[in-house]
């Protein structure tokens, strides 16, 4: 007799089978799958794995590298939006990732936070020394994305501010806003106090730093120099004559074993990536809301690299 119990068991079995098929199917075809420790062997010798930070500007640069390499007949695998350096540096060092757009100063700080250099060329040289053996720094670009001490143009005019040192002359104690870790960085408020004698309070405004500056909640803001806001808003970065802030130019970091193969293509990209380009690319992302793919294709075409 086909009892209710048997039909229930059949139903459970059927659901279980269907579920495991679906799970297996999803798992194997997951487009966003990240490799664990395959050390680059899984992808074949011609495939270049490119990573990016969880930062839309960095993602655009990585996409530019990717399309440039694809145009030169390389096979490219994209692993974008990885996050903090702790998350991706081990993979970069092990060879699971072959190429990554980085920033000279911040990466130098990661490997050696006692480094005393600040000019672009010095920082690049120091970085080359500090990199472990498996990694090579290709040519750095003029484009940079470094911390700044930024104020609104209005505030600058009202208080006659041109350089960071001028902040010392403010009548009321100003507050600087930035990412949470900025408070502890050598070029953060403590560093400003030491080098310029400027006393600033800190507010961890994070991703809303720009809005807070524009709303008047904070007077000074650590806005990265590639932020499209420099084009869309009335803000200005204060000058840094004493080189408190380390230069941080865009530099492609590659696994030493693929570095030679891709050097020509990537160095051509770096040569064309000028100081104002990142801001313009950022505007296309935030104001025009274009995807990184579109922006990258457009830039490469405009610079005759595609």
């Amino acid at each position: 007799m086909f009892t209710a119990r048997k039909s229930r068991l059949a139903l459970i079995g059927g659901i279980g089978l269907a579920a495991s098929l679906v799970l297996a199917g999803c798992a194997s075809s997951n487009p966003l799958d990240t490799p664990t420790e395959d050390g680059g062997e899984s992808a074949g010798s011609d495939t270049i794995v490119i990573g990016s930070q969880a930062y839309y500007s960095n993602e655009i640069i990585a996409e530019i590298y990717a399309q440039a390499l694809e145009n030169a007949d390389f096979t490219v695998e994209r692993e974008f939006n990885i996050g903090q350096r702790d998350a991706y540096i081990p993979d970069l060092e092990s060879g699971a990732i072959d190429l990554f757009p980085e920033y000279t100063g911040n990466l130098l700080e990661f490997y050696d936070d006692s480094a005393d250099v600040t000019s672009p060329e010095d920082v690049y040289t120091a970085l080359q020394d500090a990199l472990p053996d498996g990694l090579t720094a290709l040519d750095y670009a003029e484009a940079s994305d470094q911390d700044t001490y930024t104020v609104t143009k209005e505030f600058a005019a009202a208080n006659k501010l041109t350089s960071i040192a001028d902040l010392a002359s403010l009548s009321e104690k100003a507050t600087i806003g930035g990412a949470p870790e900025f408070e502890q960085r050598p070029y953060g408020p403590a560093g400003a106090k030491e080098l310029y004698g400027v006393d600033l309070a800190f507010s961890a405004t994070g991703d809303t730093t720009l809005e807070s500056l524009l709303a008047g909640e904070i007077q000074v803001a650590d806005i990265y120099s590639a932020d499209p806001a420099f084009e869309t808003e009335d803000i200005v970065a204060l000058e840094d004559p004493e080189n408190l802030i380390l230069a941080s130019n865009v530099v492609p970091i590659a696994s030493s074993d693929v570095a030679d193969e891709i050097a020509d293509v990537i160095n051509a990209v770096s040569a064309a990536l000028g100081a104002d380009d990142l801001v313009a690319l950022g505007v296309q992302s935030t104001v025009d809301e274009k995807s990184p793919e579109e922006i990258a294709t457009q830039w490469l075409t405009d610079n005759d690299l595609l």
């Binding site: 997951n30 966003l32 990240t34 664990t36 969880a54 839309y56 990885i82 996050g83 702790d86 935030t286």
Partner: protein, 228 residues
Amino acid sequence: MNWIADNFGLILELTLAHLWQSAIPIVLGFVLSLPLGWVAWRYRLVRGPVVILTGLLYTIPSLALLILLPALIGISTRDPANLIIGLTIYAIAILVRAVADGLDSVDPAIRQSATAMGYGGLRRFWTVDFPLAAPVVLAGLRVTAVSTISLATVGILVGVENLGYLFTNGLQRRIIAEVFAGVLAVVVIALLIDLLLLLAGRALMPWTRAVKTPNAARRPARIVRAAA
């Protein structure tokens, strides 16, 4: 909402990733919590510590857990396995309690009758205890499923890409439609999975479809014993 139309492919891709990153912890959590819940229910001495331990696991902030798990077991933070293990731990924390409570709700008289009829231990568990405990366990499973799907978004903060990407990316680029799309997608798939579980429950447990007793005659005294 142009952004949503233009980026529908991205949203779909992320939704699929999100689904499988959530489905595995739910299933795994369920399977693992059955024996654990049974032990907690069966052995009174164990129950206290188990409840405290699961409560403790529950209070660890997810972000901290996702950073510390890789340090403890040696995988990369951005490995989806990291997120999956973390979510499984939270799922177990909820489900062990549900399984124990479910088994608790089975009338001991029924269990005794089954034993009297000659059902052995394991058979009695699968044919009597578990089916009767199932409604409570299913309720716990539904809650677990919804909260796992919702919690998985934290993965983006440690580099695991899923629908959480739409929050951080949307915030950075100040695209409200993007963040809204992310929230909406998470809510929709959570409610869909919840509905699926509800329907599965109805299909697999036909006895729970009995006519609902009106309020006046519902559940006799648990808090109050009226006359003896």
